[in-house]
């Protein structure tokens, strides 16, 4: 079993690091513990995202590859150190390597408390939804009076302490197995790599323009000297002016949205006000990273859908959006776009009400809708939120995991002002709880 150990101290001399080293050497026949260094991790700052720094990526990779994590925490001011907290904040901001990871907490202190309050506090922090670690309950290992605890060879002196530590570690080994079994057979979590903040770039990304700017379109157009008005554009197959293209796209009987391969929302056919749209968008949203267009709790589902499209698990993801009454049946379609070589170029999201089409067909062929007695979900109305939870059979190649809990959560770039429910607070990592 492969574990990583993190000592929550950046002091030159740390008894917690010593304790981890003891665990690593003394119990090497039980577990393989690699001790990770947090010395070079910068102070967390949400306005200076250093998730991609070597120090943070190193920790993230090591943790992801490990079966479990042991954290040894000192106690400063009745809580954990800022250095350890900063590490956890980076690991819960735009990446979540601790999610679902079994964690064992130990701690050492100079005085008799053995970091009792810091451990309790660390437990609370690790269990917050942004971090989402699975901390082993009970089995507190509190090493007080630590200055006298080790001999010259850096071994724990008291055999009872060693015995209790061994017992605790053996329980943790079982716990790791149970939790990792529960987490499922080597779950494919590559979808987590989808960066909805659009930090990366593709060859078409317009750099130097703030994606969040309300006038992104104007700025980006100025920067690229974009064709407009009566300028002509050669297309496959035809030649149109930009005006003609706009007439064409704005008259499509559906709402169209273009999200590029960098997960940036760069276009929609603006032919109605947000309030009159099926999936509301506002002019100021164009240019936003996709993360801006979704409530936090929806982000994983959006990531999963995008990843399926990017990786070709499916080319078309269909999603009925209920709650619009019996007179509408609004569908969100997510169509993967590719270039001639088959390279992924983004998503064409189109939203339309298909009920008029169905009605037209029925009226003109002299048929009526009839209930299928064998159907599980109400196939006609789709108006209940429940039916959306049912497995949409239209999702070819989608795993059950990838299914959205709530349909509107997946709508790309939807401006629906999602009511912020209390749990939004709890789903956020370091990222959404302001500052």
């Amino acid at each position: 079993m492969k574990l990583v150990g993190i000592a929550g101290s950046v002091a030159d001399k740390s008894y917690n690091r010593l304790l981890l080293k003891f665990i690593a050497t003394h119990f090497s026949d039980t577990v393989d513990v690699e001790i990770l260094d947090i010395q070079d991790v910068p102070m967390f700052n949400q306005s200076d995202d250093q998730t991609n720094s070597d120090a943070v990526q190193y920790l993230s990779h090591k943790i992801q590859q490990a079966d479990g994590v042991i954290i040894a925490t000192p106690e400063h001011n009745h809580t954990i150190t800022a250095a350890l907290k900063s590490v956890i904040e980076w690991l819960s901001f735009s990446i979540h390597p601790l999610s679902g990871k079994p964690v064992m907490i130990v701690g050492a202190s100079y005085y008799d408390q053995g970091s009792s309050r810091a451990q309790l506090n660390l437990r609370q922090i690790l269990e917050s939804p942004g971090v989402d670690a699975v901390v082993m309950p009970g089995n507190e290992f509190l090493l007080g009076e630590v200055k006298d605890a080790f001999d010259d060879q850096h071994n724990l002196k008291d055999p009872r302490t060693v015995g209790f530590l061994k017992e605790t570690l053996e329980k943790f080994v079982k716990f790791v197995k149970v939790i990792n079994t529960m987490n499922g057979p080597v779950e494919d979590d590559s979808w987590k790599s989808e960066d909805l903040e659009a930090h990366g770039k593709v060859e078409t990304t317009i750099e130097g323009v703030d994606m969040h700017a309300a006038d992104w379109v104007e700025q980006a157009a100025a920067k690229t000297h974009a064709a407009e008005g009566d300028d002509t554009v050669k297309l496959d197959r035809g030649v149109l002016t930009v005006n003609q293209l706009n007439y064409f796209l704005n008259s499509m009987p559906m709402e169209l949205t273009y999200a590029d391969a960098n997960n940036q929302f760069i276009y929609y056919n603006h032919n109605a006000d947000a309030k009159d749209m099926m999936a509301a968008r506002t002019p100021a949203q164009a240019g936003n990273p996709m993360a801006d267009c979704h409530p936090k709790r929806a982000i994983p589902h959006v990531q999963q859908v995008i990843h399926m499209l990017r990786t070709g698990k499916t080319d078309l993801f269909k999603l009925p959006v209920p709650g619009n009454g019996p007179e509408k049946y609004i569908m969100h379609y997510y169509q993967a776009m590719h270039d001639a070589k088959g390279e992924y170029k983004g998503i064409n999201e189109f939203v339309l009400d298909i009920l008029p089409i169905v009605k037209y067909y029925l009226a003109h062929t002299g048929q009526v809708l009839a209930k299928d007695p064998n159907a599980k979900a109400d196939a006609i109305s789709g108006a209940s939120a429940k039916s959306a939870d049912a497995k949409p059979d239209s999702v070819s190649g989608a795993s059950a995991d990838a299914e959205p809990e709530q349909p509107d959560e997946v709508s790309a770039a939807s401006a629906d002002p999602e009511p912020v429910k209390p749990e939004v607070d709890s789903v956020s990592g370091a990222s959404s709880n302001d500052n």
Binding site: S9, A82, Y110, V420, D434, N435
Partner: protein, 202 residues
């Protein structure tokens, strides 16, 4: 007129906690002089063996010493106070002790609806530790949820009820500061004890 130091509990460029403190500074200008203090420039606390406290920390400690009380506005990261704020408090209790018996008011703002409830409880626990020994105003919480929508263009708190609550708490805090000044019989002992709380022994 009371003089307060207001600590912005984040290093983020955009912060509604900073906004909240700026609003208080302006709104209560006729009642108290509030000076905002930033904690971004403090290095990561590493318990240096040479006991050297960075100048940025001693400068803040100096301001706190001179003030009648401290207001801290905290964000909430992972159900607790942000590392950068914890870091400041580590430095401000490492061989310097500006918080001993100092009246403190805790407030906080968050984008979600909870308004940093858990971070405030955490901060209370930290400030109550023997290294800090602050006098935190009891039984009071100011939780500003949905903080992105809470201010108008001029930085004023929009919600009248919230404003009334804040005004009440701030008035109470001023009273609390005066009362705390009376609760002075253990000041010397507290100061002595905190000197004895040696980081090398803890």
């Amino acid at each position: 007129m009371h003089k307060f130091i207001a600590i912005v509990g984040t290093n983020s460029d955009q912060s509604t906690n900073r906004k909240l403190l700026q609003f208080m500074q302006k709104h209560f200008a006729d009642q108290a002089a509030i000076e905002l203090v930033e904690i971004k420039d403090l290095p990561m606390f590493n318990k240096p063996e040479n006991k050297q406290v960075p100048a940025a920390a001693t400068a803040i400690a100096e301001k706190i010493d001179q003030a009648d009380g401290v207001i801290i506005s905290t964000p909430e990261y992972d159900h607790s106070a942000p590392a950068v704020l914890m870091n400041a408090l580590e430095w401000l209790s490492f061989h310097i002790h500006p918080f001993v018996d100092k009246p403190v008011m805790i407030i906080g703002a968050s984008y979600g609806s909870l308004g940093t409830s858990r971070a405030q409880a955490h901060l209370r626990q930290i400030l109550d530790s023997p290294e800090l020994r602050a006098r935190i105003m009891p039984s009071s919480e100011f939780l500003l949820g949905h903080s992105l929508q809470a201010f108008d263009e001029d930085g004023n708190l929009i919600d009248a009820q919230k404003l009334a609550k804040l005004t009440g708490l701030f008035t109470d805090f001023q009273t609390f500061v005066d009362i705390t000044a009376e609760l002075n019989h253990a000041n010397e002992a507290n100061r002595q004890e905190v000197q004895n709380v040696n980081w090398d022994k803890l």
